[in-house]
Symmetry: C2
Subunit: 147 residues, 2 copies
Amino acid sequence: MRAKPRFAPSQILRRARRRSTSQRSLLLDLIQQAGGHLDADELYRRAREQQPRLSLSTVYRSLRLFKQLQLIDELHFEEDHHHYEGHSPREHHHLVCLGCGRVVEFESPLIQQLKADVGGRQGFKVTSAELNLAGLCPRCRGKKGSV
Amino acid sequence: MRAKPRFAPSQILRRARRRSTSQRSLLLDLIQQAGGHLDADELYRRAREQQPRLSLSTVYRSLRLFKQLQLIDELHFEEDHHHYEGHSPREHHHLVCLGCGRVVEFESPLIQQLKADVGGRQGFKVTSAELNLAGLCPRCRGKKGSV
DNA sequence: CTTACTGCAAATAGTTTGCAAGAAG
DNA sequence: CTTCTTGCAAACTATTTGCAGTAAG
């Protein structure tokens, strides 16, 4: 393990004139520890294990705040709700297994190229890119016949 | 305009043992004509202009069916609901303007490369890729200051 | 005729909001 | 103390479902 690469969330909250509460710290910790891809409900369930009175509203309000402050990123997989992960300094994308739901992160320099390329051609200033690949992971490729 | 490149939807429905109804034809036509990116509600509103008794349930049921039959694709922009477009044989992706909401489609050979690349590295069989870029279109780049 | 499809109303999932009580600074 | 935040319940948006009537094949 290396030294913490990020500013302490409490400092970021402070700078944004937002209060650092036990709920917010807990939620942020859980998101960070989970290594990403949590949805609101899962986060809520995990948070309640440690603070049973924490409400779902607080989860949603916190997620919105964290997103505004760029502490987390919102992911849009093929579902009716969003997923979240701690904002990482390295841009990366996601590969989701349609068999078991496993999510793998990956980086690729091609994306930068693509952003510049397309942005230039269309005259857009591209500020963000979300790429989601879907397929079958090594394990699930075998069981294909049963589906 | 060229000759229709697709099978008639009615044939596809037939083959899948589904009935070809006036509602389904209308909805499919509207999606095709819109050139893509409609959401359920917008589709519902347009459909009612021609068939006032058509219900929202039918819209949702039809969308689900069309998606299953690969007649349409579902898009996951940064919103709480999905968007749909007629399935096109050429894989393409989307560039959304954060200023005015305009959606531009683009193709890029880099995506194929990326799919092969990442799939290979992770041992996945990649079956689909959704890439959404966001940014400011030429027109909206100017007004930036006012935001 | 038979079975799939539709419209309607009610149900459900995900998310937001009003408000009074509670905590941070 | 003052203002921001929380918990709770109620509201809201997007989508799904049960069921009886309607229409496609």
